[in-house]
C-alpha cells in the first residue's frame, strides 16, 4: 500500500510541476464551457437587419416593429432601392434583409398574395437558415394575430397553421445542448487522453523499463496512474455543473445522484479506453493522435454535440453507436435537461457498462509485462 501511495503522489507531482498540464486539466474545462456556452452559440441575438419597403403601410410597419422588438433582431436601416442590398452584405453590416412587395397591406387583405422576401447571406448556411426561420416565425405570428383580430371577416382564408413548441428548452438556449456535450468531451479528454499520454510517457522516457524490473505489480503501476486523473475528473465534473447552473443558467432538472453515478460510469469507461490506447502505443505523440482522432474528433462530430446525428449518412450513424460519449450525452440530456429517472436511461447505462467491461478486459489482456 505504501508503494501505491507514493506512486499516486508521484503522479500528482508530474501533473502539477508541469504548468501546461495543470492548465489543460483545470482551466481548459472552464474555458470550453464559457466558449461553447457564450461564444460558439447557435442562438440569434441582436442580429442587424435592413428593410426595403416600397409600401410603407400599417402592415409592413407592424412587421418591422415585431422583428425589432424581439431580442433576436435590431433594425439597421431602411433602404431606398433594392440595389443597395448587395452592398450591405458585402460590408457585412446585416444578417438579413427583408423586402416587402408593393401595396403590401392592400394585397394581404384583398387578394391574399402579399409578398415578403427574406434575403440572407448563404456563405454561412447554418446561420442563414436559423435567421430566416426566426424571422419567418415572427412574421407568421403577426399574420395570426392579424387574422385573429379580423376573425369573422377572414375566417375562410385561415387555413392550417402549425404551431411549434419546444419542450425542455422553451427558449431554444443552445447551452442546453452544449452542457452535456462539453461534459462528455472534458471527461473523455482527461480520462482517456491524459491517462494514455502519461503511460506512454513512461515508455518513451524509458522509466517504464525500470519500473517493470521491480517487484511492483504492473497492475498497481497503472492503477496509481488512474487515481490522479480520476480525482481531477471529479473536480472538473463539479466545475462543469457549477458553471452550467450558475453561469449558463442550465438547471439540473433530474436527480443529481443519478447524474453523478452516470458520470462515474463514463469516467470508468474513458479511463479503460486510456489504458487500452497506452498499452498499444509506445510514444506520447501517437497516444495523443490516436485518442485525439479516434475519440475527440468523432466525439465532437458524431455525438450529436454540434450536428444532429439523424441528418448524417447511415454509415456515420452506425459508427456513432460505438462511441461511448454518444450514449453518455444522450443519458445526460435525459437526466440533466429533461429530468427523467433511471428507467429512461437503462439502455444507455447498459451499453456504457458493457463497453467499459469489454475495453477493460481488452486492455488487461493487451497489457505488456515486458517491452514487447
Amino acid at each position: 500500500m505504501r508503494e501505491f501511495r507514493i506512486f499516486v503522489q508521484k503522479e500528482f507531482f508530474h501533473i502539477f510541476r508541469d504548468r501546461w498540464t495543470t492548465l489543460i486539466l483545470l482551466v481548459l474545462p472552464v474555458l470550453m464551457i464559457i466558449l461553447f456556452g457564450f461564444g460558439i452559440t447557435t442562438e440569434i441575438r441582436n442580429t442587424k437587419f435592413a428593410v426595403y419597403d416600397p409600401s410603407r403601410d400599417a402592415a409592413t410597419q407592424e412587421i418591422v416593429n415585431k422583428l425589432e422588438s424581439s431580442d433576436y433582431f435590431t433594425l439597421d436601416s431602411y433602404l431606398s432601392s433594392p440595389g443597395d442590398i448587395e452592398q450591405l452584405f458585402k460590408e457585412g453590416r446585416v444578417g438579413f434583409v427583408i423586402v416587402f412587395g408593393e401595396k403590401f397591406y392592400q394585397s394581404m387583405l384583398h387578394t391574399g398574395d402579399a409578398k415578403i422576401q427574406l434575403i440572407a447571406d448563404g456563405t454561412d448556411p447554418n446561420t442563414a437558415s436559423i435567421l430566416t426561420n426566426y424571422a419567418t416565425a415572427l412574421i407568421n405570428t403577426y399574420q395570426q394575430e392579424l387574422f385573429a383580430s379580423q376573425l369573422i371577416a377572414e375566417s375562410g382564408k385561415r387555413g392550417i397553421t402549425a404551431e411549434t413548441r419546444l419542450l425542455y428548452n422553451p427558449t431554444l438556449k443552445s447551452a442546453y445542448n452544449i452542457v452535456p456535450g462539453i461534459m462528455g468531451m472534458i471527461l473523455m479528454l482527461i480520462c482517456a487522453i491524459m491517462t494514455s499520454v502519461s503511460i506512454a510517457r513512461e515508455k518513451e522516457l524509458g522509466t517504464m523499463e525500470v519500473l517493470l524490473v521491480s517487484p511492483m505489480k504492473p497492475f498497481l503501476i497503472i492503477l496509481s496512474k488512474l487515481v490522479p486523473y480520476f480525482t481531477i475528473s471529479i473536480i472538473n465534473y463539479i466545475t462543469i455543473l457549477l458553471l452550467s447552473v450558475f453561469v449558463l443558467k442550465v438547471p439540473i432538472a433530474g436527480s443529481l445522484v443519478l447524474l453523478t453515478a452516470l458520470s462515474l460510469l463514463f469516467i470508468f469507461v474513458s479511463l479503460s479506453f486510456g489504458i487500452l490506447i497506452s498499452s498499444l502505443v509506445e510514444k506520447q505523440i501517437v497516444a495523443l493522435l490516436i485518442s485525439g482522432m479516434l475519440l475527440m474528433m468523432p466525439a465532437v462530430f458524431l455525438s450529436g454535440l454540434m450536428f444532429p446525428v439523424e441528418s448524417m449518412p447511415q454509415v456515420l450513424q452506425w459508427f456513432s453507436h460505438i462511441l461511448p460519449v454518444k450514449w453518455f450525452i444522450i443519458a445526460v440530456r435525459n437526466v440533466m435537461i429533461k429530468g427523467l429517472g433511471f428507467s429512461s436511461i437503462i439502455k444507455e447505462v447498459a451499453i456504457l457498462t458493457g463497453m467499459g467491461i469489454i475495453i477493460l478486459m481488452a486492455s488487461i489482456k493487451k497489457f505488456k509485462y515486458r517491452l514487447e
Binding site: R2, E3, I6, F7, K10, F13, H14, R17, D18, L205, G206, T207, E209, V210, L211, L212, V213, S214, P215, M216, Y369, R370, L371, E372
Partner: protein
C-alpha cells in the same frame, strides 16, 4: 515480502546463458550467445553501438523474450520465473531513466519504495555514491550533470541491495573524471559481493573488468579475462606516426607482411605476421626502412603492446 537478503547459491553461476538468439524482423540482434557469469565478478560486455548489448541486457532482465535459447539469473529462468528475477536484480538502462521533473531525493525514495524498502534502511549501501549528490537532493533530476545523473541512477538501482547489477552503458556520455569514479564504485560494490554485468563501447574500460565478452553484430567474438585476450594477440604490433596519415594508411596496407592496419587516434596500428623466418618478418625497423624508401620522412615507428581494441579489430577482421 523481504528481499533484503539476496539468496546466494555459490555453486550456481550468477548468470547462465545458453544459445540465446533474438531478431527484430530481419535484423539479427543476437546470435547464439552462450556464456556464464560467476558470482561476485565484474563481467564486461564490450562492443560498438548496435552490437546487441542492450538487447542482451533486456533479455536477462526479463524485459524481452529470447527467440531461442535459455538463460537463468541466479538460477531463475528469465522467461518462466521472471517475477523472481525482478525482485533481486538492479537494472540501469542505457538511457537515463529517472523522473526528470522529480528531485534527486524523490527519485531515490520512489525506487526504494518500489522495492519495499526505504532510503534510511539501505542508506549504507548507496552512501558512497549518494553522498556525492546528496548536497543537491532538492534539485530536479533533469537539472543534474551527466555524471551526477548516472550516480543517481546507480543509487536508484542499488537501493534495494540487488544481488546482481545490470549496468547498460553506464559511462556513455559522461566526463572522464566521473567515468573513473564510477568504475571505482563498481570495484567497491564487487567487494560487497554484488555481481556486476556492465556493457560499454569503450575498449579502454575492458581492463577494469574481471572478464569480458567482445560482441560484434550480435555475436560474442571472445570471452576471457582482459589479460588473456591481450596475450592471445597473435601478431606483432607496430605503431606508425607521421605526416599525411590518410595516405600513409593506404600505403601501409599495401606493404607485404602487413596483416591489417587501422587508425588509432593519432597513430596507425600495424599488425604484422610474427614469422619464425627472421628474413621475411616485418619488424619496426624493416617497416621504417621500407617507408623511408618510399619517401616518407619524420616517421615515428615503434613496437607496441596490443590493447583490447587491437584484439577486437583482429577478431572482427577474421
Amino acid at each position: 515480502m523481504t528481499h533484503s537478503t539476496p539468496h546466494k547459491i555459490s555453486d550456481t553461476p550468477a548468470i547462465s546463458c545458453r544459445n540465446i538468439s533474438k531478431s527484430y524482423g530481419k535484423v539479427n540482434a543476437l546470435h547464439d550467445i552462450t556464456f556464464d557469469v560467476q558470482q561476485g565478478e565484474i563481467f564486461g560486455v564490450i562492443g560498438p553501438d548496435g552490437a546487441g548489448k542492450s538487447t542482451l541486457f533486456r533479455i536477462l532482465t526479463t524485459l524481452l523474450l529470447p527467440d531461442t535459447g535459455d538463460a537463468t539469473v541466479e538460477g531463475f529462468d528469465v522467461v518462466k520465473e521472471y517475477k523472481k528475477i525482478r525482485k533481486i536484480v538492479g537494472y540501469m538502462p542505457g538511457k537515463f531513466s529517472l523522473y526528470q521533473d522529480l528531485t534527486v531525493e524523490e527519485n531515490l525514495r520512489i525506487f526504494a519504495t518500489l522495492f519495499n524498502t526505504t532510503i534510511e534502511e539501505n542508506y549504507h549501501l548507496v552512501k558512497d555514491i549518494y553522498s556525492q549528490i546528496e548536497p543537491f537532493k532538492t534539485r530536479r533530476a533533469g537539472a543534474l550533470s551527466g555524471g551526477m545523473k548516472q550516480k543517481l541512477a546507480l543509487s536508484c538501482a542499488l537501493i534495494h541491495k540487488p544481488s546482481i547489477l545490470f549496468l547498460d552503458e553506464p559511462t556513455t556520455g559522461i566526463d572522464p573524471v566521473s567515468r573513473k569514479e564510477l568504475w571505482e564504485m563498481l570495484r567497491k560494490l564487487k567487494s560487497q559481493g554484488i555481481t556486476i554485468i556492465v556493457s560499454t563501447p569503450y575498449m579502454d574500460e575492458a581492463s577494469l573488468c574481471d572478464r569480458i565478452a567482445l560482441i560484434q553484430n550480435g555475436s560474442f567474438l571472445r570471452i576471457d579475462t582482459p589479460d588473456n585476450i591481450v596475450k592471445s594477440f597473435g601478431n606483432r604490433l607496430i605503431s606508425v606516426r607521421g605526416e599525411n596519415m590518410g595516405e600513409l594508411l593506404k600505403r601501409l596496407r599495401e606493404i607485404p607482411g602487413v596483416i591489417s592496419c587501422f587508425a588509432f587516434g593519432d597513430s596507425h596500428h600495424v599488425a604484422a605476421e610474427k614469422s619464425s623466418n627472421q628474413l621475411n618478418s616485418l619488424t619496426a625497423d624493416t617497416l621504417a626502412e621500407n617507408l623511408k624508401k618510399q619517401g616518407y620522412t619524420n616517421l615515428e615507428v615503434k613496437n607496441i603492446e596490443p590493447g583490447i581494441e587491437d584484439c577486437f579489430m583482429e577478431l572482427t577482421a577474421k
